[in-house]
């Protein structure tokens, strides 16, 4: 089953060709109607919200990291655990949403600020910035289209052990290091070569070498100091405090309809408290983000108000989303045709899908 499943979801397998033949690749997707004037307002960029949030994010890491190291070295390593956990959440969990928003280029108005945050967050999340820029581009073109979307986190059937291990980065981190070494010697995987244009590939190799140097320096610092603290600060949070990014990410599409060409039917918008929305940078408005990726994270609540009459009911909490997605994933282990069917509200514009072949 394992190999068959991977072949099904491979970007270079027969399902990819089938998706193209059926008109599912680079297709027309449903969009809620928003007047151009209002959409222009919602798309407007601003530096100030992201500067404020980035100052809290990086400043918080600086303060918490320094406090954690001080407590570790002068009081007790165990008492440093809470500070390291909070530091790690900012690094290994909030890093995901910063990577995402800055990667879209919508977080800031000023381009170099987006680029800088994207590079920092990519390093923190151990995601090669060029490769992931292209794979995420494909995810937006072909969201949950089997054989086309490289970011389907929960396949049918799900790779449960892999998902659970990744709450502690135990698959992602070794995979990232394997890819770093592969890239450092000037090679890409077949899936990566499929999405990254040739002229962009040298960037991948260069950055892998730089990252490996940083990790080598961290290892040297740990050996010389006889302490694991350098790894608790650099790289380690991707293991010990990455779980929240997965808690959020699984709400996005897990258990939902594949090959449907309507984000209302394959994506969730979930209400979250201010703390989670800070860590996740409002990506809980995920239907809205997929429908209108140019709208910055700080305007997504307004976009939600604008189009909610067209959307399926919002999930009132993370708990509510998990009450649906966990049973759906478990059911899909036995029944791969099952998926969560969303009811659109009365009066919502139905999406008249183009006739799909096959």
């Amino acid at each position: 089953m394992g190999r068959e499943r991977l072949a099904l979801y491979s970007l270079v397998g027969p399902e990819s060709e089938r998706a193209v033949e059926r008109g599912l690749a680079n297709a027309v997707w449903f969009k809620a109607d928003v007047p151009r004037k209002r959409m222009k307002e919602l798309m407007q960029r601003s530096d100030s919200p992201a500067i404020r949030d980035t100052a809290i994010w990086l400043g918080g890491m600086l303060v918490l990291g320094a406090a954690a190291v001080w407590v570790w070295t002068t009081v007790s390593p165990w008492l440093a655990a809470p500070a390291f956990l909070l530091y790690g959440l900012l690094y290994g969990s909030a890093g995901d949403s910063r990577w995402h928003e800055a990667g879209h280029g919508t977080a800031f108005k000023t381009r170099w600020m987006d680029t800088t945050v994207y590079e920092i967050a990519s390093f923190m999340m151990m995601r090669e910035p060029t490769v992931w820029r292209w794979t995420h581009t494909r995810h937006h073109t072909d969201t949950l289209i089997v054989g086309r979307d490289p970011e389907i986190a929960v396949m049918r059937p799900a790779r449960l052990a892999r998902i659970l291990l990744n709450f502690f980065g135990l698959v992602d981190v070794p995979t990232s290091f394997r890819l770093m070494f592969l890239h450092a010697v000037g090679r890409l995987t077949p899936d990566e070569a499929d999405v990254v244009p040739e002229q962009e590939q040298p960037r991948v190799y260069r950055k892998a070498r730089i990252w490996l140097l940083i990790y080598a320096a961290t290892l040297a610092a740990a050996v010389l100091s006889g302490s694991i603290v350098p790894f608790l600060l650099i790289g380690g949070p991707r293991v010990y405090a990455t779980f929240m990014h997965l808690v959020y990410a699984l709400t996005q599409h897990a258990g939902m309809g594949e090959d449907v060409l309507d984000h209302r039917l394959n994506t969730r918008t979930v209400r979250m408290c201010w703390f989670n929305r800070f860590l996740y940078w409002n990506m809980n408005y995920h239907v809205e983000h997929h429908m209108y990726p140019l709208v910055p994270y700080h305007r997504l609540p307004e976009l939600h108000e604008e189009i909610q009459h067209e959307l399926a009911a919002v999930y009132p909490s993370i708990w509510a989303a998990y009450k649906e997605l966990v049973p759906a994933i478990l059911r899909q282990l036995k029944d791969q045709k099952y998926y969560v069917r969303r009811e659109l509200p009365p009066g919502a514009t139905p999406f008249n899908e183009p006739a799909l072949a096959g």
């Binding site: 151009r36 798309m43 820029r133 937006h140 244009p197 002229q199 990726p293 140019l294």
Partner: protein, 105 residues
Amino acid sequence: MPTWVPACSVDDVDAEDVIPFEHDGVDYAVFRSPDDRYFATAGHCTHELTLLCDGLVMGPIVECPKHNGRFDYRDGSAQGAPVLVGLKTYPTRVEEGTVFIDITA
């Protein structure tokens, strides 16, 4: 020999914005810059053929609504991933309140 076709009235497009224009089944994008100059390009992003008229115009840059790919609409140049190929551009001229574009360019 240029083929000038009327695309829109000068007031049809706001400053720092874009509108679509279709002629003989071909899509074009007509831009009005913040300093009230008019430009025209191919209507679709070179990356995945999304219509640029739904995108965001910021100064001389238009951003594709699908993947945020950026072009300088004055010369069509691509401004970085995910767009690597520039846009075709067309000369424009304004006569008596109408914007014309030369579709032979």
